[in-house]
């Protein structure tokens, strides 16, 4: 089952690369740099999925006290941080030639950065508690606070930018994307979701074995 998922993910990635590099046309204004979007956009969507799973795992763990849900939350948090990191790095590489800067305190960038540090904090907390039961309970509460905080962060950051300075770097609204580009994005999104599902199943399995091996 897991093997099959792995092969499926591999096929997805190959299809995604084909769609991103061969099938999708060269973007008129941005040129080839735009192809980074086929990694950037699916990464952030996958990260949202991962953090959604952290919330679900945390709530269900507190309700049922089944360690499997805690392992799901922990594994999803690690992958969420990974994919948020990929999002930030790939966005930064894209932003340099397109906006002329590696980083700007735009609303979306800022809230993504906050998302990143919130869950790095979650992982740090987990690393510092040895007792599995106490670790699971504390981490679940932090996972719930982190997720509930995201809409608040979103609005505060949006208004913060909107009030201080209109978006000058982003420029005019991007034109509606062409069907080819949309299809390539979709293929890559599915591919990254498959990769995420495969990684997650592996990570959860490792966590399960670790828990069994521990005295």
């Amino acid at each position: 089952m897991r093997r099959a998922l792995g092969w499926l993910a591999l096929i997805g990635v190959i299809a995604g690369l084909g769609a991103g590099f061969a099938y999708a046309p060269r973007e008129v204004v941005q040129g080839n740099v735009q192809r980074i979007m086929y990694l950037h956009v699916p990464s952030v969507l996958t990260a949202y999925l991962a953090f959604g799973l952290v919330l679900v795992g945390s709530i269900v763990y507190l309700a049922t006290r089944r360690a499997a849900w805690d392992r799901l939350a922990a594994s999803a948090a690690e992958l969420g941080v990974l994919f948020t990191g990929i999002t930030i790095v790939s966005g930064s590489i894209w932003g340099r030639p397109t906006w002329g800067t590696w980083w700007t305190w735009d609303a979306r960038l800022t809230s993504t950065a906050v998302l990143f540090i919130v869950y790095v904090g979650y992982l740090l907390l987990r690393a510092m508690i040895e007792d599995p039961d106490a670790r699971a309970r504390s981490a679940a509460v932090v996972g719930i606070v982190g997720a509930a905080n995201m809409p608040i962060v979103h609005f505060s950051v949006k208004w913060w930018r909107a009030l201080h300075q209109p978006s000058t770097i982003l420029g005019p609204e991007p034109s509606p994307i062409s069907p080819e580009i949309r299809l390539a994005l979709l293929v890559n999104w599915i591919a990254l979701t498959l990769v995420f599902a495969y990684f997650l199943s592996r990570r959860v399995e490792i966590a399960r074995l670790e828990a069994e091996g521990a005295p």
């Binding site: 904090g121 509460v141 509930a148």
Partner: protein, 226 residues
């Protein structure tokens, strides 16, 4: 319900009494606030205008730094004196402990903030009295949010060896919206802008406070049961 209120009151009363007798936190926090003011002044230099522009941010930075020290110690008395079990023996709903601690922390922080505010007015020549009412509202909402998450995370980190490090690492990212909203609203209040123009910030603060307190009440029992 009256039982619940009574238990909340006992936790609060115990903390206030210990604080009044030992003055362990208050004295140090006052002095720390004073030092912060000096440091801000040194860091920004003598230029008055750059100072005025940065004032709301500095003010809340001061509150948050003082809060990190004060809130982080919420459960230290219980831990050091082996009274953790005593706290756990409180009958009934454990969220009463959270509520009592939260109110105690709020009072402690409010006192420190008032002193810091007066010192700010004194050292930086800001007329605070005319804007006292809107400022008080911003302070009330911002401090509630800070204390609500701070109390919860202090309970989480109280038993850890690396708590001095981990507490800020957890709390600061969670406080981003409170900081942004409070600084913007304080800016409006200090400039004498009608509060209606910062109403969306105040609503955000109130909404955030509500979310944090509800989560705190619901999850606190899971944290302290160990």
């Amino acid at each position: 319900m009256t039982d619940y209120a009574r238990r909340t009151w006992f936790v609060l009363w115990k903390d206030l009494l210990t604080e009044r007798r030992s003055k362990e936190n208050l004295n140090a926090l006052f002095f720390f606030s004073l030092l912060l003011l000096f440091l801000f002044q040194f860091a920004l230099g003598p230029d008055r205008r750059s100072l005025e522009a940065a004032l709301p941010g500095l003010l809340w930075l001061g509150f948050i730094l003082a809060g990190l020290l004060g809130l982080g110690r919420s459960f230290i008395a219980e831990r050091d004196n082996d009274c953790w079990e005593g706290l756990l023996l409180t009958p009934g709903d454990k969220s009463a402990i959270y509520l009592g601690k939260l109110v105690g922390n709020f009072i402690l922080m409010a006192v420190v903030e008032l002193v810091l505010l007066v010192l700010f007015g004194f050292f930086f020549g800001v007329a605070l009295w005319p804007v006292a009412a809107p400022l008080a509202l911003v302070l009330l909402l911002g401090t509630t949010g800070l204390a609500a998450v701070g109390t919860l995370f202090a309970a989480i980190t109280a038993q850890l060896r690396a708590r001095e490090l981990l507490f800020p690492v957890l709390l600061l990212p969670a406080q981003v919206p409170i900081l942004l909203a409070a600084v913007s609203a304080t800016d409006a209040a200090l400039n004498g802008t009608p509060l209606a123009e910062a109403a969306h910030w105040l609503k955000l603060l109130a909404g955030a406070d509500l979310v944090y307190i509800v989560i705190g009440l619901l999850t606190f029992e899971f944290i302290i049961e160990g």
